[in-house]
């Protein structure tokens, strides 16, 4: 790769590593795997870098590569057998008090756990549409499917997410108390 191309890639990777990892985390629900997926996607981007001319195209392509990398990863049989049981790690946050932290944590834990119960492709559509704020056309391009499929998957994904949240709520004593009050 030419020096100027490599410099352009380094700038791109430095800028997109964080957003790609966040997107990957919402796909898979594991920060370690999200970092692996992000790095795998960037390595694939490096190999295709000479064919990518515009920055905007690179961002969209990176998202597409990340999604394919995750779906490939899920297809690997040794990943299929994994069952998520571990709790999310505690990370100290000095910006809020314990009560606020507990409430916020229970809320995003609930949504996060519910999201992981949504089937993978529907989950991907939800993340691309509502986290990355992609249009239906852009989501269809990233997913490699039709716009109609994106619409139907998004609708079903939302239904499944709501159903999952409702299923999880009664089992969550912290949230149950908060809602009751």
């Amino acid at each position: 790769m030419r020096t100027e191309d490599e410099q352009r890639f380094r700038e791109f990777a430095a800028a997109q590593a964080g957003p790609l990892r966040r997107c990957a985390y919402l796909f898979c629900g594991d920060w370690h795997l999200a970092e692996d997926l992000m790095q795998s996607a960037l390595i694939k981007m490096y190999q295709a870098w000479s064919r990518i001319e515009q920055q905007e195209a690179a961002v969209n392509y990176a998202r597409k590569v990340l999604l394919r990398t995750w779906l490939d990863e899920k297809r690997r049989p040794w990943r299929r057998s994994e069952v998520r049981q571990a709790e999310l790690p505690d990370v100290a946050d000095s910006s809020a008090g314990p009560d606020v932290l507990a409430a916020a944590r229970s809320t995003h834990d609930l949504v996060h756990r519910a999201l992981l119960l949504v089937p993978p492709r529907q989950r991907a559509v939800l993340v691309l549409r509502y986290f990355d704020d992609l249009s239906i056309v852009e989501t269809a391009e990233a997913m490699g499917c039709s716009e109609g499929t994106v619409k139907s998957q998004a609708a079903r994904g939302l239904d499944n997410l709501k159903a999952a949240i409702q299923r999880l709520e009664p089992a969550d004593p912290v949230l149950g108390g908060r809602v009751a009050s």
């Binding site: 490096y46 949504v111 079903r156 939302l158």
Partner: protein, 274 residues
């Protein structure tokens, strides 16, 4: 829940984001190494393909007179199956959406097919229990979507038990995975992974961890049949089970190896029937 609430909730799910331990120079070095290896591998693959083409073309050319009456034979020989493994199909099957009712109907048919495939391939099982089918990885339920169904099957023998997982994809539903992508890690061939091409254009992906000395954590082997209609069937065997221990803790290994998994994966009745 409104769309804005979904957006806020997804953003709040990232509140515990750990700091990014991202070594950019190391990543670029790794990418450059991979790119060099890929170029080297591509050179070897191209040379191998050239040799294969010559090896096929010369006998076909010399024997043209004899095979003139059998165009199917000569076209199959000239076409070969290797290119299918190096690239994705030029006309991939179009995936379709299935309703939950359609998928439930297929799941019922697949239960009987799986039972037949297991009892045909495995020697004298004492019990075969096909669990419920699911469309999602974690949901454990059948919902509308692309045609992918998976189920676990417990097979008990006299001295051992094995857990099998069957995943059946309708034509086009498994476009994300090809034999090559499944057999590749970071741009390099994955260990314990082989691809067997059939003359009809189908391919078998066999991953056997036991043979490679890899620690047997939970899985013995996995076989995926990539069929000519674009559908795939994966059968994987496991020897440890959440909450039920592992046969490696002193139990006998179940009589299920790659050959038995292949027999089950290629069973023609295991399909979506589209």
């Amino acid at each position: 829940m409104s769309e804005q609430e979904i957006r806020d909730a997804l953003r709040s799910a990232l509140a515990d984001e750990p700091p990014l331990s991202f070594d950019l120079p190391a990543l670029v070095d790794r990418a450059e190494r991979n790119a060099r290896r890929r170029r080297a591998m591509f050179g070897v693959a191209a040379a191998t393909a050239l040799i294969a083409v010559v090896a096929v073309a010369v006998p076909v050319t010399l024997g043209a007179g004899r095979s003139a009456g059998h165009p199917a034979v000569s076209s199959a020989a000239a076409g070969g199956s290797a290119p299918r493994l190096l690239t994705t199909s030029s006309t991939p099957p179009v995936p379709r959406e299935y309703t939950a009712v359609e998928l439930s109907g297929r799941a019922k048919l697949l239960t009987a097919s799986v039972y037949r495939a297991v009892t045909t391939a495995l020697p004298q099982p004492e019990d075969v229990a096909v669990q419920g089918w699911a469309t999602g990885q974690d949901s454990g339920a059948i919902t509308a979507g692309p045609g992918t169904l998976s189920s676990f099957v417990w097979v008990s023998f006299k001295d051992s038990t094995v857990l099998l997982r069957f995943t059946v994809d309708a034509p086009g539903a498994n476009l994300a995975a090809t034999p090559v992508s499944q057999c590749t890690l970071d741009g390099m061939p994955a260990p314990a992974c082989t691809i067997k091409a059939d003359p009809d254009g189908s391919a078998l992906l066999v991953e056997n961890f036991a043979e490679q000395g890899k620690p047997l954590t939970e899985q013995v082997a996995s076989v995926t049949d990539y069929r000519t209609d674009g559908g795939t069937v994966n059968v994987a065997s496991y020897v440890s089970y959440p909450g039920k221990g592992t046969v490696l803790d002193g139990g006998a290994l179940p009589p299920v190896g790659s050959s038995e998994l292949i027999t089950m994966a290629v069973a023609p009745e295991l399909s979506f029937g589209d």
